[in-house]
Symmetry: C2
Subunit: 325 residues, 2 copies
């Protein structure tokens, strides 16, 4: 039986760490996950991870040829192979590459989760034929991965692509980063909720969502209400799409991408978000870009998106090396 060439994708999240083997077509094998446990050390995370992985993998290792390891994590630095000052993981400085090398002496690549997601779309999702696009993850935060000429834009220190922390409103909403008016405070699951209350404060419309305490309200509840025709909930998506669309008009002026891909969080609202976003992007865009930039929803299957992205990091490096040699 022929060996299946695969890379190991590992996605470290605040709650769980997922992993799986992924072939060049995006088929995922030996998929599993463990709790991240932020109260334990990163060393113990990898000890538990590889214990579990080896147990599954060793029985089947004759079927696979493992070519490399890709790791997606919040605040990961591609150049240094580290995770630094991660508020999500409570890690101050961890050299992930060195840690993983002890278990498998293979090419290891690590990048932040938004960049992994972008490469996932390029290798396995809707961006398969694209060389210039932007991937936005609109969940608790506003993650962005920028692909330029077929490669992730890492910038000078590996921190490029913080579009969620561009200021779109002077003296606007307070952001977790300590500043005011960041795009993330408007376009994210939390931003959607804040916009609902902003509209509520100005409107005398009835709304089914008034029956929920602020501590109970979620972006999913606003979505459900909007689907059922709740006017304030609908206006919340319209308003959020406008802010996102205006921001994207500027994104396009910087980067001239073929497409902007939205995934997770408030992007699951589909057209409720996409329609106003497109409208306001076109309306605010420089004429030479008008009608040229697609806004798409992620093409990755929910569930193992994160593993596909992490694995894509490794596949991308392997293919780059092949092209050079």
């Amino acid at each position: 039986m022929a060996h299946k060439k695969v890379t190991l994708g590992i996605e470290i999240g605040g709650t769980n760490t997922s992993f799986g083997l992924v072939d060049i077509l995006g088929n995922c094998f030996v998929e599993s996950r463990i709790p991240t446990r932020l109260n334990e050390s990163p060393e113990s995370l990898f000890e538990r991870l590889f214990k579990k992985f080896n147990k599954i993998y060793k029985e089947k290792s004759s079927e696979y040829e493992l070519l490399g390891i890709g790791i997606g994590a919040p605040s990961a630095n591609y150049y240094k192979g580290t995770v630094e000052y991660s508020s999500n993981l409570n890690w101050v400085y961890v050299n992930i590459k060195d840690m993983v090398k002890k278990y498998y002496d293979l090419p290891i690549v690590i990048a932040n989760d938004a960049n992994a997601a972008a490469l996932g779309e390029m290798k396995f999702g809707v961006a398969k034929k694209m060389k210039n696009f932007i991937q936005l993850t609109l969940s608790r935060g506003f993650g962005s991965g920028i692909v330029v000429d077929g490669n992730i834009l890492y910038g000078s220190d590996g921190f490029a692509g913080e579009i969620g922390h561009t200021i779109v409103e002077k003296n606007g909403r307070s952001c977790g980063c300590g500043r005011k008016g960041c795009l993330e405070t408007y376009v994210s699951t939390g931003g959607l909720i804040r916009t609902y209350y902003e509209l509520l404060s100005k409107s005398n419309e009835i709304s089914v969502l008034k029956e929920f305490r602020p501590s109970e309200l979620t972006s999913d509840l606003i979505l459900k209400a909007a689907i059922h025709g709740d006017k304030l909930a609908l206006a919340t998506f319209e308003n959020t799409g406008q802010i996102l669309g205006e921001a994207l008009a500027n994104v396009v002026a910087y980067l001239n991408p073929e497409a902007i891909i939205l995934s997770e969080g408030i992007a699951v609202a589909g057209d409720l978000l996409l329609v106003p976003t497109k409208k306001h992007m076109e309306k605010n865009m420089l004429n030479l870009f008008q009608g040229k930039v697609e806004i798409l929803l992620s093409g990755l299957v929910k569930g193992n998106v994160a593993i596909l992205g992490a694995s894509a990091l490794s596949w991308h490096e392997i293919q780059k090396k092949k092209n050079i040699s």
Copy 2:
């Protein structure tokens, strides 16, 4: 006598078209220029240009080995070798590459003037050791060339880097592009003048510049007044630096550059512009970028800057090919 390896740099401007031979160290030879004459066809421009160039060059051609031709022009498209819809040149669609090929069958590369200027800084100016930086030309327009990982960011259609046409003020100043609030309407020679009148309208400060008609006022006059301590003129630079600094804080979030280089137009004001720009950039920047991004003045000698930039386009392609083969 050894042949000096050179590339021919041609910069097409609205008034004049300059050209010269440039070696790898940035030494410029056989430098000259002709009037562009927008009422004549582009064909006739190149006919006149190469007639003049050949006349000078043929006597000295034994001294040089001409490796390629680089052309900088407004609204030039790197991918297609064209100039398209150039309001500055009155050209709707001109295939420059084909036109020039008739005279010299050498590798020809064309890009917009802002990108040429960025490569000029990388090959011959203050960005010699940099791989990630942004070059801003702050003259009549706000030109920007973005360098990522040692290459110009062209984007999907070759139009990336329109930072001057990002909207920084909703319903702000009317822009030549037909929209409102573009950065260019605040940070450019014309933008500086508009800011002077905005401050004049709000202030009761005395100002020597009140003696000039609006049709006479120039950015140079505002600079001279500021140097002589005119309070409104000083406030005009302070205000312009604030707007630029706030915009640059966002630029950094996108691109994580090592440095931002300012040249021409209002950048000749030096510290009068740089000091407030730096202050407001740092104040508005995400903490992880603070203190890391330099703001520099162009390192190219005035006069042949444009030729150096155009020539750098060609040198860059030659060096890229060398690295691959």
